[in-house]
């Protein structure tokens, strides 16, 4: 019934994200990192997939409204930015809030991601449902796979 997210699981050892994160923290990237790159798994999490005629980007942004999320594409770099605010107490004055856990990211965020070339931003579409924003970026006509007819000699 639903699309299967497990097909995104192409890594050598699934379920070891925490392990890799720990390693990444202990030994920072030895290579050259992009100056605007953020660590993997920052808020909001992003999945990117490709079909024959489009690239699809899934932004997992729970608690955001379409108005609070800003998605732009420039030179094949997709930027997702916005702000998530904490829900204020109903009765601000009289209530005291004591926190035990604060794991959910709050505040302004911005993430950039390089996408394959040859996308047509003018025909891009984005939909938002249940905290997931799906962006469909169609490929330009000349980049779509073409069937080659084999003629009998």
């Amino acid at each position: 019934m639903f699309g299967d997210l497990r097909r995104f699981d192409t890594d050598w050892a699934p379920g070891t994200d925490w392990f890799r994160r720990l390693f990444d923290e202990m030994w920072p990237e030895p290579g050259v990192a992009d100056i605007r790159s953020v660590p993997r798994g920052s808020f909001p999490m992003i999945n990117v997939g490709r079909t024959d005629d489009a690239v699809r980007v899934y932004v997992f942004a729970p608690g955001l409204t379409p108005e609070a999320l800003d998605i732009s594409l420039q030179d094949n770099v997709l930027t997702v930015s916005g702000e998530r605010r904490e829900t204020p107490a109903e009765d601000e004055a009289s209530s005291q809030r004591s926190h035990f856990r604060r794991e959910r990211p709050q505040g302004a965020f911005s993430r950039s991601l390089a996408l394959p070339e040859g996308l047509d931003p003018d025909r891009a579409e984005a939909r938002f449902h249940d905290g997931i924003c799906e962006v469909v970026l169609p490929k330009r006509e000349e980049l779509k796979p073409r069937r080659i007819d084999i003629q009998a000699s």
Binding site: F2, T51, Y58, A61, P62, L64, Q96, R97
Partner: protein, 130 residues
């Protein structure tokens, strides 16, 4: 016959383990306010009918299936979300009124209100002048 049953049982165990492994931990905020505990969990893609909440033996279980329709023939290029479900468990303390727990899910954010029993509410102590 016995053999078959055993095989089925071990497969079930394996499937359970598989399911457990593939669940993501949702990020949560927990705070106390107005004589209740509030739990807010990020579960993008989880809808009202794919969410299961359970309290059993003072253990609160949150489980949700990510409902995301993806087209056939989608090849992954980059992925941070690789599991199909969210799951997390918390032990509750005895002061929570289990029957009065309220839950809302909106836009991928689950909000639970766990009220405290009347006898455990915060009370203000008046200080009298001598």
């Amino acid at each position: 016959m016995k053999e078959v049953a055993k095989q089925a049982a071990s497969r079930e165990v394996a499937e359970q383990r598989e399911r457990h492994r593939e669940a993501m931990l949702p990020a949560v905020d927990i705070f106390e306010e107005d004589n209740a505990l509030h739990l807010v969990a990020d579960m993008p893609g989880v809808q009202r009918d794919t969410l299961t909440l359970e309290v059993n033996d003072n253990v609160l279980t949150l489980e949700g299936e990510v409902a995301l329709a993806m087209p056939e023939g989608l090849t992954p290029l980059y992925a941070e979300v690789r599991a199909q479900r969210f799951a997390r468990r918390f032990t509750l303390s005895h002061e929570i009124e289990v029957d009065a727990i309220q839950a809302h899910i909106d836009n991928g954010v689950l909000r639970l209100v766990l009220p405290k029993k009347e006898t455990h509410r915060r009370r203000r102590i008046d200080i009298k002048t001598a």
